[in-house]
Amino acid sequence: MTGKILQAQLLELIRRTSSRLPDDVVRVIEKSWRKEQKDSNAKYALKVILDNIAMARENSLPLCQDTGTIICYADLPVWLDEPGFRKAYEQAVLQATKVGYLRQNSVDSLTGKNSGTNLGPGSPVFHLQQTKSRTLTVRTILKGGGCENVGAQYSLPDARLGAGRDLAGVRKCILDAIMQAQGKGCGPGILGVCIGSDRSSGYVASKEEFLRALDDANEHPALAKLEKQIVADANRLGIGPMGFGGATTLLGCKITHRNRLPASYFVSISYMCWAYRRDGFQLSEAGKIIRWLY
Protein backbone atom coordinates (compact mmCIF):
# COMPACT_ATOMS: atom_id res chain seq x y z
CA MET A 1 0.00 0.00 0.00
CA THR A 2 1.31 3.47 -0.78
CA GLY A 3 1.66 6.16 1.87
CA LYS A 4 -1.12 8.07 0.13
CA ILE A 5 -3.65 5.25 0.43
CA LEU A 6 -2.73 4.68 4.07
CA GLN A 7 -3.12 8.39 4.78
CA ALA A 8 -6.55 8.48 3.13
CA GLN A 9 -7.75 5.49 5.17
CA LEU A 10 -6.43 7.05 8.38
CA LEU A 11 -8.25 10.29 7.57
CA GLU A 12 -11.46 8.28 7.26
CA LEU A 13 -10.75 6.68 10.64
CA ILE A 14 -10.33 10.10 12.24
CA ARG A 15 -13.49 11.44 10.58
CA ARG A 16 -15.49 8.51 11.85
CA THR A 17 -14.03 8.75 15.33
CA SER A 18 -14.82 12.45 15.66
CA SER A 19 -18.38 12.32 14.34
CA ARG A 20 -19.73 8.91 15.26
CA LEU A 21 -20.11 7.51 18.75
CA PRO A 22 -19.69 3.69 18.81
CA ASP A 23 -22.95 1.70 18.94
CA ASP A 24 -22.10 0.05 22.27
CA VAL A 25 -21.88 3.52 23.86
CA VAL A 26 -25.04 4.83 22.22
CA ARG A 27 -26.96 1.76 23.43
CA VAL A 28 -26.00 2.41 27.05
CA ILE A 29 -26.94 6.10 26.80
CA GLU A 30 -30.32 5.16 25.28
CA LYS A 31 -30.95 2.66 28.03
CA SER A 32 -30.10 5.26 30.67
CA TRP A 33 -32.39 7.80 29.03
CA ARG A 34 -35.28 5.31 29.19
CA LYS A 35 -34.63 4.70 32.87
CA GLU A 36 -34.55 8.34 33.98
CA GLN A 37 -37.69 9.83 35.44
CA LYS A 38 -40.15 11.58 33.16
CA ASP A 39 -39.74 15.38 33.01
CA SER A 40 -36.51 15.25 35.01
CA ASN A 41 -33.43 17.35 34.27
CA ALA A 42 -31.52 14.10 33.83
CA LYS A 43 -33.84 12.81 31.12
CA TYR A 44 -33.74 16.19 29.40
CA ALA A 45 -29.92 16.27 29.40
CA LEU A 46 -29.69 12.73 28.00
CA LYS A 47 -32.20 13.61 25.30
CA VAL A 48 -30.11 16.58 24.18
CA ILE A 49 -27.05 14.30 24.22
CA LEU A 50 -28.81 11.67 22.08
CA ASP A 51 -29.99 14.33 19.62
CA ASN A 52 -26.44 15.62 19.43
CA ILE A 53 -25.06 12.15 18.75
CA ALA A 54 -27.54 11.65 15.91
CA MET A 55 -26.85 15.08 14.38
CA ALA A 56 -23.07 14.67 14.44
CA ARG A 57 -23.31 11.24 12.83
CA GLU A 58 -25.67 12.41 10.13
CA ASN A 59 -23.73 15.55 9.23
CA SER A 60 -20.23 14.14 9.73
CA LEU A 61 -19.42 16.96 12.14
CA PRO A 62 -17.46 16.84 15.40
CA LEU A 63 -19.63 15.48 18.19
CA CYS A 64 -18.12 18.00 20.60
CA GLN A 65 -16.10 21.10 19.77
CA ASP A 66 -13.31 19.83 21.98
CA THR A 67 -11.90 17.09 19.76
CA GLY A 68 -9.50 16.24 22.54
CA THR A 69 -6.16 14.52 22.79
CA ILE A 70 -5.64 12.33 19.74
CA ILE A 71 -4.46 8.94 20.94
CA CYS A 72 -3.39 6.40 18.32
CA TYR A 73 -2.88 2.69 19.05
CA ALA A 74 -1.51 0.56 16.25
CA ASP A 75 -0.22 -2.98 15.66
CA LEU A 76 2.28 -2.74 12.83
CA PRO A 77 2.94 -5.75 10.56
CA VAL A 78 6.39 -6.37 9.07
CA TRP A 79 5.46 -4.69 5.80
CA LEU A 80 5.04 -1.31 7.53
CA ASP A 81 7.85 0.62 9.24
CA GLU A 82 7.16 2.79 12.27
CA PRO A 83 8.42 6.14 10.91
CA GLY A 84 6.34 5.59 7.78
CA PHE A 85 3.21 4.91 9.80
CA ARG A 86 3.78 7.94 12.05
CA LYS A 87 4.20 10.19 9.06
CA ALA A 88 1.01 8.93 7.41
CA TYR A 89 -0.98 9.35 10.64
CA GLU A 90 0.39 12.87 11.20
CA GLN A 91 -0.51 13.85 7.66
CA ALA A 92 -4.01 12.49 8.22
CA VAL A 93 -4.29 14.57 11.41
CA LEU A 94 -3.13 17.65 9.56
CA GLN A 95 -5.72 17.08 6.85
CA ALA A 96 -8.48 16.32 9.38
CA THR A 97 -7.70 19.61 11.12
CA LYS A 98 -7.83 21.52 7.83
CA VAL A 99 -11.26 20.19 6.92
CA GLY A 100 -12.64 20.61 10.44
CA TYR A 101 -12.98 17.03 11.71
CA LEU A 102 -10.56 18.14 14.42
CA ARG A 103 -10.31 21.49 16.20
CA GLN A 104 -6.95 23.27 16.43
CA ASN A 105 -6.14 21.81 19.79
CA SER A 106 -2.40 21.62 20.37
CA VAL A 107 -0.79 24.40 22.39
CA ASP A 108 2.91 24.95 23.15
CA SER A 109 3.16 24.59 26.93
CA LEU A 110 5.87 27.26 27.21
CA THR A 111 4.70 29.95 24.81
CA GLY A 112 0.95 29.27 24.84
CA LYS A 113 0.98 29.32 21.04
CA ASN A 114 -1.43 27.02 19.20
CA SER A 115 0.34 25.09 16.44
CA GLY A 116 -2.86 25.22 14.41
CA THR A 117 -2.12 21.76 13.03
CA ASN A 118 -2.62 19.45 16.03
CA LEU A 119 1.02 18.45 15.53
CA GLY A 120 3.87 19.18 17.92
CA PRO A 121 5.88 17.54 20.69
CA GLY A 122 3.71 14.72 22.04
CA SER A 123 0.75 15.32 19.78
CA PRO A 124 -0.73 13.14 18.58
CA VAL A 125 0.02 10.47 21.19
CA PHE A 126 1.29 7.20 19.71
CA HIS A 127 1.25 3.71 21.22
CA LEU A 128 2.79 1.48 18.57
CA GLN A 129 3.82 -2.15 18.67
CA GLN A 130 4.79 -4.82 16.16
CA THR A 131 2.60 -7.73 15.24
CA LYS A 132 3.34 -11.01 13.46
CA SER A 133 0.00 -10.76 11.70
CA ARG A 134 -0.12 -9.48 8.10
CA THR A 135 -2.96 -7.16 9.05
CA LEU A 136 -2.54 -3.57 10.23
CA THR A 137 -4.76 -2.70 13.20
CA VAL A 138 -5.29 0.97 14.11
CA ARG A 139 -7.45 2.37 16.88
CA THR A 140 -8.04 6.00 17.79
CA ILE A 141 -9.46 7.64 20.88
CA LEU A 142 -10.30 11.35 21.13
CA LYS A 143 -10.08 12.22 24.80
CA GLY A 144 -11.62 15.55 25.85
CA GLY A 145 -9.84 18.04 28.10
CA GLY A 146 -12.65 18.61 30.61
CA CYS A 147 -12.80 14.94 31.50
CA GLU A 148 -9.02 14.48 31.43
CA ASN A 149 -8.79 17.17 34.12
CA VAL A 150 -10.77 15.03 36.57
CA GLY A 151 -8.66 11.88 36.28
CA ALA A 152 -6.98 10.91 39.57
CA GLN A 153 -4.28 8.70 40.98
CA TYR A 154 -4.29 7.28 44.50
CA SER A 155 -1.48 5.71 46.49
CA LEU A 156 -2.73 3.13 48.96
CA PRO A 157 -3.13 2.99 51.88
CA ASP A 158 -5.02 6.29 51.95
CA ALA A 159 -5.87 7.51 55.45
CA ARG A 160 -8.38 10.18 54.37
CA LEU A 161 -10.49 7.55 52.58
CA GLY A 162 -9.77 4.72 55.00
CA ALA A 163 -8.68 2.73 51.95
CA GLY A 164 -6.32 -0.22 52.33
CA ARG A 165 -4.40 -2.29 49.80
CA ASP A 166 -7.22 -4.51 48.61
CA LEU A 167 -10.21 -4.36 46.28
CA ALA A 168 -12.34 -2.76 48.99
CA GLY A 169 -9.74 0.03 49.13
CA VAL A 170 -9.73 0.30 45.35
CA ARG A 171 -13.51 0.71 45.40
CA LYS A 172 -13.23 3.60 47.88
CA CYS A 173 -10.73 5.38 45.63
CA ILE A 174 -12.94 4.99 42.58
CA LEU A 175 -16.05 6.27 44.37
CA ASP A 176 -14.04 9.22 45.69
CA ALA A 177 -12.88 10.07 42.16
CA ILE A 178 -16.51 10.02 41.01
CA MET A 179 -17.50 12.38 43.84
CA GLN A 180 -14.65 14.78 42.97
CA ALA A 181 -15.62 14.75 39.29
CA GLN A 182 -19.26 15.63 39.87
CA GLY A 183 -20.52 18.50 37.78
CA LYS A 184 -17.22 18.49 35.90
CA GLY A 185 -16.02 16.47 32.94
CA CYS A 186 -19.42 16.22 31.22
CA GLY A 187 -20.95 13.21 32.89
CA PRO A 188 -22.34 10.61 32.65
CA GLY A 189 -18.83 9.23 32.41
CA ILE A 190 -16.93 6.04 31.83
CA LEU A 191 -13.95 5.04 33.98
CA GLY A 192 -10.76 3.28 32.97
CA VAL A 193 -8.88 2.02 36.01
CA CYS A 194 -5.51 0.34 36.54
CA ILE A 195 -4.58 -1.29 39.83
CA GLY A 196 -0.82 -1.48 40.39
CA SER A 197 2.09 -0.57 38.08
CA ASP A 198 4.07 2.66 38.43
CA ARG A 199 2.54 6.12 38.15
CA SER A 200 3.07 6.66 34.43
CA SER A 201 2.39 3.13 33.17
CA GLY A 202 -0.66 2.96 35.42
CA TYR A 203 -2.27 5.89 33.65
CA VAL A 204 -1.37 4.45 30.24
CA ALA A 205 -3.02 1.14 31.17
CA SER A 206 -6.09 2.92 32.57
CA LYS A 207 -6.62 4.64 29.19
CA GLU A 208 -6.19 1.36 27.30
CA GLU A 209 -9.31 0.14 29.11
CA PHE A 210 -11.26 2.60 26.96
CA LEU A 211 -10.50 0.36 23.99
CA ARG A 212 -12.84 -2.28 25.43
CA ALA A 213 -16.47 -2.30 24.33
CA LEU A 214 -18.86 -1.21 27.09
CA ASP A 215 -20.80 -4.48 26.96
CA ASP A 216 -17.83 -6.87 27.20
CA ALA A 217 -17.03 -8.83 30.36
CA ASN A 218 -13.76 -8.67 32.26
CA GLU A 219 -12.06 -12.07 32.06
CA HIS A 220 -10.95 -11.77 35.65
CA PRO A 221 -13.98 -12.72 37.82
CA ALA A 222 -13.10 -10.49 40.78
CA LEU A 223 -12.62 -7.47 38.51
CA ALA A 224 -15.78 -8.27 36.54
CA LYS A 225 -17.67 -8.18 39.81
CA LEU A 226 -16.02 -4.97 40.95
CA GLU A 227 -16.79 -3.25 37.63
CA LYS A 228 -20.48 -4.07 38.00
CA GLN A 229 -20.54 -3.00 41.62
CA ILE A 230 -18.89 0.35 40.89
CA VAL A 231 -21.46 1.18 38.20
CA ALA A 232 -24.32 0.20 40.51
CA ASP A 233 -22.88 2.16 43.46
CA ALA A 234 -22.07 5.23 41.37
CA ASN A 235 -25.59 5.33 40.00
CA ARG A 236 -26.94 5.31 43.54
CA LEU A 237 -25.07 8.53 44.38
CA GLY A 238 -27.69 10.61 42.59
CA ILE A 239 -25.18 12.88 40.81
CA GLY A 240 -26.73 12.35 37.39
CA PRO A 241 -25.94 13.68 33.91
CA MET A 242 -24.05 17.03 34.10
CA GLY A 243 -24.41 16.79 37.89
CA PHE A 244 -28.13 17.70 37.60
CA GLY A 245 -29.13 14.81 39.87
CA GLY A 246 -30.54 11.51 38.59
CA ALA A 247 -29.86 7.82 38.18
CA THR A 248 -27.18 8.02 35.47
CA THR A 249 -23.81 9.01 36.88
CA LEU A 250 -21.64 6.34 35.28
CA LEU A 251 -22.13 4.50 31.98
CA GLY A 252 -19.37 2.00 32.55
CA CYS A 253 -16.26 1.08 34.49
CA LYS A 254 -13.37 -0.98 33.11
CA ILE A 255 -10.64 -2.20 35.42
CA THR A 256 -7.30 -3.85 34.73
CA HIS A 257 -4.36 -4.80 36.90
CA ARG A 258 -0.56 -4.86 36.63
CA ASN A 259 2.11 -6.11 38.97
CA ARG A 260 3.47 -3.55 41.40
CA LEU A 261 6.49 -3.09 43.64
CA PRO A 262 6.05 -4.32 47.19
CA ALA A 263 6.42 -0.70 48.31
CA SER A 264 3.75 0.76 45.96
CA TYR A 265 0.04 0.31 45.39
CA PHE A 266 -1.33 2.80 42.87
CA VAL A 267 -4.87 3.10 41.64
CA SER A 268 -4.87 5.14 38.42
CA ILE A 269 -8.23 6.39 37.20
CA SER A 270 -8.97 7.99 33.84
CA TYR A 271 -12.37 9.59 33.34
CA MET A 272 -14.03 9.71 29.94
CA CYS A 273 -16.95 12.04 29.22
CA TRP A 274 -20.14 10.84 27.50
CA ALA A 275 -18.53 11.98 24.22
CA TYR A 276 -16.59 8.72 24.27
CA ARG A 277 -15.03 8.80 20.84
CA ARG A 278 -13.22 5.60 19.90
CA ASP A 279 -12.96 3.74 16.64
CA GLY A 280 -10.62 1.40 14.85
CA PHE A 281 -10.14 -0.76 11.79
CA GLN A 282 -8.03 -3.47 10.24
CA LEU A 283 -6.30 -2.83 6.94
CA SER A 284 -4.94 -5.36 4.47
CA GLU A 285 -1.54 -4.99 2.90
CA ALA A 286 -3.28 -3.65 -0.21
CA GLY A 287 -4.88 -0.89 1.86
CA LYS A 288 -8.41 -2.28 1.99
CA ILE A 289 -10.48 -1.96 5.14
CA ILE A 290 -11.07 -5.56 6.25
CA ARG A 291 -13.38 -4.58 9.07
CA TRP A 292 -14.29 -1.86 11.54
CA LEU A 293 -13.67 -2.82 15.14
CA TYR A 294 -16.56 -1.02 16.83
Binding site: N41, Y44, A45, V48, I49, D51, N52, M55, A56, N59, L61, P62, L63, C64, Q65, D66, G100, R103, G144, G146, L175, M179, Q182, G183, K184, C186, D233, R236, L237, G238, I239, G240, M242, G243, F244, G245, C273, W274, A275
Partner: protein
Protein backbone atom coordinates in the same frame (compact mmCIF):
# COMPACT_ATOMS: atom_id res chain seq x y z
CA UNK B 1 -40.53 26.85 29.75
CA UNK B 2 -39.67 29.67 27.37
CA UNK B 3 -37.49 32.62 28.41
CA UNK B 4 -37.78 35.38 25.86
CA UNK B 5 -35.89 38.66 25.51
CA UNK B 6 -35.96 41.24 27.02
CA UNK B 7 -34.43 39.55 30.06
CA UNK B 8 -35.96 41.74 32.74
CA UNK B 9 -35.29 41.41 36.45
CA UNK B 10 -38.89 40.30 37.02
CA UNK B 11 -38.61 37.42 34.52
CA UNK B 12 -35.27 36.31 35.95
CA UNK B 13 -36.45 36.50 39.58
CA UNK B 14 -39.32 34.19 38.65
CA UNK B 15 -36.90 31.39 37.65
CA UNK B 16 -36.23 28.60 40.14
CA UNK B 17 -33.49 26.01 40.49
CA UNK B 18 -34.24 22.84 38.52
CA UNK B 19 -36.39 24.50 35.86
CA UNK B 20 -35.74 23.58 32.24
CA UNK B 21 -35.69 26.72 30.17
CA UNK B 22 -35.43 27.48 26.48
CA UNK B 23 -33.97 30.88 25.66
CA UNK B 24 -35.03 32.94 22.67
CA UNK B 25 -33.37 36.25 21.95
CA UNK B 26 -29.92 37.80 21.71
CA UNK B 27 -27.10 36.49 23.92
CA UNK B 28 -23.38 37.36 24.04
CA UNK B 29 -20.47 34.95 24.27
CA UNK B 30 -17.63 35.79 26.64
CA UNK B 31 -14.93 33.73 28.23
CA UNK B 32 -11.61 34.26 29.97
CA UNK B 33 -10.21 37.22 28.02
CA UNK B 34 -13.50 39.15 28.00
CA UNK B 35 -14.10 38.65 31.71
CA UNK B 36 -10.63 39.81 32.63
CA UNK B 37 -10.87 42.79 30.27
CA UNK B 38 -14.16 43.99 31.73
CA UNK B 39 -13.07 43.33 35.29
CA UNK B 40 -9.94 45.44 34.73
CA UNK B 41 -12.11 48.37 33.67
CA UNK B 42 -12.35 47.78 29.91
CA UNK B 43 -15.32 49.44 28.20
CA UNK B 44 -17.99 46.97 27.07
CA UNK B 45 -18.53 47.27 23.30
CA UNK B 46 -22.24 46.53 23.79
CA UNK B 47 -24.79 47.46 26.42
CA UNK B 48 -24.75 44.66 28.97
CA UNK B 49 -27.81 45.80 30.93
CA UNK B 50 -30.30 42.91 31.18
CA UNK B 51 -28.00 40.71 29.12
CA UNK B 52 -27.17 37.02 29.13
CA UNK B 53 -23.51 36.04 28.80
CA UNK B 54 -22.59 32.63 27.38
CA UNK B 55 -19.32 31.01 28.49
CA UNK B 56 -18.47 29.59 25.10
CA UNK B 57 -15.59 29.60 22.66
CA UNK B 58 -17.50 28.77 19.50
CA UNK B 59 -16.24 27.57 16.14
CA UNK B 60 -17.50 30.20 13.71
CA UNK B 61 -16.58 30.31 10.04
CA UNK B 62 -17.09 32.93 7.36
CA UNK B 63 -19.22 31.63 4.51
CA UNK B 64 -19.46 34.21 1.72
CA UNK B 65 -20.87 37.30 3.45
CA UNK B 66 -22.04 35.79 6.71
CA UNK B 67 -20.83 34.03 9.83
CA UNK B 68 -21.88 30.43 10.38
CA UNK B 69 -21.66 28.68 13.74
CA UNK B 70 -20.18 25.17 13.45
CA UNK B 71 -19.98 24.24 17.13
CA UNK B 72 -21.15 26.12 20.19
CA UNK B 73 -20.99 24.08 23.38
CA UNK B 74 -20.37 25.60 26.82
CA UNK B 75 -16.97 25.85 28.48
CA UNK B 76 -16.21 25.39 32.19
CA UNK B 77 -17.54 28.40 34.12
CA UNK B 78 -15.51 28.01 37.32
CA UNK B 79 -12.60 29.91 35.75
CA UNK B 80 -14.68 33.12 35.76
CA UNK B 81 -15.64 32.87 39.44
CA UNK B 82 -13.33 35.75 40.53
CA UNK B 83 -14.87 38.11 37.94
CA UNK B 84 -18.49 37.06 37.47
CA UNK B 85 -20.12 38.48 40.62
CA UNK B 86 -18.57 41.95 40.33
CA UNK B 87 -19.44 42.12 36.62
CA UNK B 88 -23.04 41.07 37.27
CA UNK B 89 -23.32 43.89 39.79
CA UNK B 90 -21.57 46.53 37.69
CA UNK B 91 -23.48 45.90 34.46
CA UNK B 92 -26.74 44.33 35.67
CA UNK B 93 -26.02 41.12 33.78
CA UNK B 94 -29.10 38.94 34.31
CA UNK B 95 -27.85 35.53 33.34
CA UNK B 96 -24.80 33.44 32.70
CA UNK B 97 -24.84 30.26 30.61
CA UNK B 98 -22.04 27.73 31.07
CA UNK B 99 -21.23 24.35 32.45
CA UNK B 100 -20.14 23.03 35.83
CA UNK B 101 -21.77 25.77 37.90
CA UNK B 102 -20.12 28.57 39.88
CA UNK B 103 -19.19 29.34 43.46
CA UNK B 104 -20.54 31.27 46.45
CA UNK B 105 -19.46 34.73 45.21
CA UNK B 106 -21.52 34.36 42.06
CA UNK B 107 -24.45 32.85 43.96
CA UNK B 108 -24.47 35.87 46.28
CA UNK B 109 -24.35 38.25 43.31
CA UNK B 110 -27.28 36.41 41.69
CA UNK B 111 -29.40 37.11 44.76
CA UNK B 112 -28.30 40.74 45.01
CA UNK B 113 -28.64 41.68 41.34
CA UNK B 114 -31.47 39.41 40.32
CA UNK B 115 -29.54 37.03 38.08
CA UNK B 116 -29.32 33.29 37.39
CA UNK B 117 -26.84 30.64 36.31
CA UNK B 118 -28.08 28.55 33.40
CA UNK B 119 -26.42 25.20 32.75
CA UNK B 120 -26.10 24.12 29.12
CA UNK B 121 -25.47 20.52 28.13
CA UNK B 122 -21.71 20.06 27.99
CA UNK B 123 -20.44 18.59 24.76
CA UNK B 124 -23.68 19.08 22.84
CA UNK B 125 -21.90 21.23 20.26
CA UNK B 126 -24.16 20.32 17.32
CA UNK B 127 -27.56 20.70 18.98
CA UNK B 128 -26.52 24.00 20.50
CA UNK B 129 -25.01 25.34 17.27
CA UNK B 130 -28.28 24.56 15.50
CA UNK B 131 -30.16 26.75 17.97
CA UNK B 132 -28.04 29.75 17.04
CA UNK B 133 -30.08 31.09 14.16
CA UNK B 134 -27.92 34.11 13.31
CA UNK B 135 -24.69 35.83 14.23
CA UNK B 136 -25.52 39.52 14.55
CA UNK B 137 -22.08 40.88 15.28
CA UNK B 138 -18.68 40.27 16.77
CA UNK B 139 -16.56 42.47 19.04
CA UNK B 140 -12.96 42.41 20.30
CA UNK B 141 -12.23 39.91 17.52
CA UNK B 142 -8.88 41.48 16.56
CA UNK B 143 -7.82 41.82 20.18
CA UNK B 144 -8.71 38.36 21.53
CA UNK B 145 -9.14 36.07 18.52
CA UNK B 146 -12.20 34.12 17.46
CA UNK B 147 -12.93 31.80 20.44
CA UNK B 148 -12.39 34.62 22.98
CA UNK B 149 -14.28 37.36 21.14
CA UNK B 150 -17.77 38.61 22.06
CA UNK B 151 -20.17 37.05 19.55
CA UNK B 152 -23.74 38.28 19.33
CA UNK B 153 -25.81 35.14 18.92
CA UNK B 154 -29.48 35.22 18.02
CA UNK B 155 -30.77 32.01 19.62
CA UNK B 156 -34.06 30.19 19.41
CA UNK B 157 -35.17 27.71 22.05
CA UNK B 158 -31.65 27.34 23.39
CA UNK B 159 -31.91 24.57 26.02
CA UNK B 160 -30.57 25.12 29.55
CA UNK B 161 -31.35 24.18 33.14
CA UNK B 162 -31.46 26.77 35.95
CA UNK B 163 -28.90 25.49 38.45
CA UNK B 164 -28.38 28.70 40.48
CA UNK B 165 -31.25 31.09 41.08
CA UNK B 166 -31.71 34.55 42.56
CA UNK B 167 -33.11 33.14 45.80
CA UNK B 168 -29.85 31.70 47.10
CA UNK B 169 -30.35 28.14 45.84
CA UNK B 170 -27.68 26.18 43.99
CA UNK B 171 -28.46 22.78 42.50
CA UNK B 172 -24.73 22.05 42.56
CA UNK B 173 -24.56 22.46 46.34
CA UNK B 174 -27.73 20.42 46.81
CA UNK B 175 -26.58 17.51 44.63
CA UNK B 176 -23.18 17.55 46.34
CA UNK B 177 -24.75 17.28 49.80
CA UNK B 178 -27.18 14.56 48.72
CA UNK B 179 -24.42 12.55 47.06
CA UNK B 180 -22.23 12.82 50.16
CA UNK B 181 -25.06 11.42 52.24
CA UNK B 182 -25.65 8.62 49.68
CA UNK B 183 -21.95 7.74 49.71
CA UNK B 184 -21.99 7.54 53.51
CA UNK B 185 -24.94 5.14 53.29
CA UNK B 186 -23.14 2.94 50.75
CA UNK B 187 -20.13 2.71 53.07
Amino acid sequence: MLLEAPFTEAKIRALKVGEMVEITGLIYTGRDAVHKYLYDGGKPPIDLTDSIIYHCGPVVVREKDRWVVKAAGPTTSAREEPYQGPLMERFKIRGVIGKGGMGPKTLAACAKVGAVYLHAIGGAAQVLAERVTAVEGVHLFEEFGSPEAIWEFRVERFPVVVTMDSHGRSLHDEVLRASQAALARLG
